[in-house]
């Protein structure tokens, strides 16, 4: 009975995360379009795109790993989300959080990209291979400030449980990590810019130079799965950052406001800057963000 209830709650939680993630994506597309002086697609466009992708009748496959690529990516997004307690103190949205979930989540964040690299490699498109190389290099680069920041946090709160970290920030706004450990927060926010792959760090997708990068060969329901994952993964990343650095959320509306605000950082940076070259992006992450991360670690 307990397992059934838990599974049901988890299901609800995932659906909410998915819908919210896709909606945020839709809103962001609208905002970016407005900045460009366009009207922009409707907010629900990501949902239609997913339905339409799944409505493709024929499909081309390039081998077993080609199928596994999106599956791994989706599993990465899902795995990231289900181990993060989304709403502090909520039974439905606590998900599968446990005492060491922070480490597992960090692993899952990068799991999807690895799977995608294998799948895209099997697709055989040269642009995919270039993009995979860029993606893994960039991922390694922004993983460094992010990991340093997480270690700093773990030292600060003396725990690896996200729930405990959120609990420690409930004493008011001034107890949020962004105020108690600003160096770690900024290092991680730089890493978030890379994770969200908005400009100037969109060297993986880079539509104008390597058409779409890894998913170039993907179509139909596999592409639909990648798009679905984009919704969940965005939610998961934003909720993780909200939990770690911005005091978590006590209910869904606060969660929405906070995650949206965190995402706006990526969007503002994204519409203001053109794209880095691959080497520039990697140098950037190994520069200021890493120094911030090391300082945060030293201060603790």
């Amino acid at each position: 009975m307990y397992i059934a209830t838990k599974a049901f709650y988890l299901f609800v939680s995932i659906i909410v995360a998915l819908v919210w993630g896709l909606t945020v994506n839709g809103i962001v597309r609208k905002i970016v379009a407005r900045v460009h002086g366009r009207i922009g697609p409707p907010v629900w466009q990501p949902f239609i795109d997913i339905i339409k992708s799944n409505a493709k009748r024929s499909m081309i496959a390039h081998g077993v790993m080609f199928y596994f690529g999106p599956v791994f990516r989706f599993a990465g997004g899902l795995g990231t989300y289900v181990f993060i307690p989304a709403v502090f103190g909520s039974v439905v949205f606590e998900n599968l959080s446990f005492s060491g979930d922070l480490l597992l989540v960090m692993y899952f964040i990068f799991f999807g990209q690895l799977g995608m690299a294998l799948g895209a490699g099997e697709g055989g498109h040269p642009a995919s291979a270039i993009a995979v190389g860029r993606g893994l290099a960039q991922m390694t680069a922004f993983e460094l400030p992010f990991a340093l920041s997480i270690i700093s946090l773990a030292t600060q709160y003396n725990t690896l449980s996200i729930t405990d970290i959120v609990a420690a920030q409930q004493a008011g706004v001034m107890s949020w990590t962004v105020f108690t450990n600003p160096l770690a927060t900024f290092a991680a926010l730089f890493a978030l810019l890379g994770m969200n792959m908005h400009s100037p760090f969109d060297i993986v997708i880079a539509p104008q130079e390597i058409p779409l990068g890894p998913p170039t060969e993907y179509q139909g329901s596999l592409l639909g799965m990648l798009h679905t994952n984009r919704g969940i993964f965005v939610s998961a990343k934003l909720i993780l950052f909200m939990n770690l650095y911005f005091g978590g959320a006590l209910n869904l509306p606060i969660l929405m406001v906070k995650t949206f605000a965190i995402y706006m950082l990526s969007v503002v940076v994204g519409v203001a800057f053109p794209r880095f070259r691959a080497d520039q992006s990697i140098r950037f992450f190994l520069g200021v963000p890493t120094v911030l991360g090391i300082l945060a670690l030293l201060i603790q």
Partner: protein, 210 residues
């Protein structure tokens, strides 16, 4: 749409490919995919019509009118349309103007790589009847002899407003369930292929480039 469930699909010869490489290519001709249940299909057609992903083929002069469509002036993303750089993910193939024999070959390759519900929009008079190049030694006169065309937008060049109107027409065709160009291409595959091969003399690619 006629039902052709019992149509015998014979393996393709791939005579244009060198014999030692022939085993690398697929020799199955395309097959038509039947529509699903009426109500499901209606819903899916709504989604297809509202999420048209464009593959632009812009070597003709008509493609110059696609730029204002994609950018701020006549932003078509508000209609749920999006340029896609890869044929695998696109559903609308826009032929931007005249086609020569050389470009038609590439167009066919790209078209066959697109996945089943796929639509073709021919821009400009050149795709309708050859336009001002109708008596040229190298300009294809009627696009619909080589690819199933859903919507023609006549004009030389059609204004972006006309292209948007063409897309609206395409949308209503899709929602009515009549934009089955991909199935038609599969059903009349031999006819299309013979037309294509009649003008593409050095056919050095597989017969069906899925």
């Amino acid at each position: 749409m006629k039902s052709t469930e019992n149509k015998i699909i014979h393996p393709l010869e791939n005579a244009g490919v060198p014999e030692d490489q022939r085993h690398l290519y697929c020799d199955a001709s395309p097959r038509p995919y039947p529509a699903l249940n009426k109500y499901v299909e209606r819903f899916l057609n709504w989604a297809r019509a509202n999420s048209l992903w464009i593959l632009g083929y812009g070597t003709g002069c008509g493609a110059i009118e696609l730029r204002p469509l994609l950018t701020s002036r006549f932003d078509i993303s508000q209609y749920g349309m999006n340029p896609r750089p890869t044929p695998r993910q696109s559903s609308v193939f826009i032929i931007g103007g005249y086609l020569s024999v050389k470009t038609l070959k590439r167009v066919i390759r790209s078209y066959e790589q697109m996945q089943n519900p796929k639509f073709v929009v021919g821009l400009g008079s050149c795709t309708v009847n050859g336009g001002m190049y109708w008596d040229s030694y190298n300009t294809v006169n009627r696009l619909d002899y080589y690819l199933p065309v859903d919507v023609y937008v006549a004009g030389c060049m059609p204004r972006p407003e006309a292209i948007i109107a063409g897309f609206e027409k395409l949308k209503s065709t899709i929602m009515a369930g009549q934009a089955e160009g991909a199935n038609e291409y599969a059903e009349r595959f031999d006819w299309y292929k013979s037309n294509q091969k009649k003008i593409i003399k050095d056919w050095d690619m597989p017969d069906y480039n899925w």
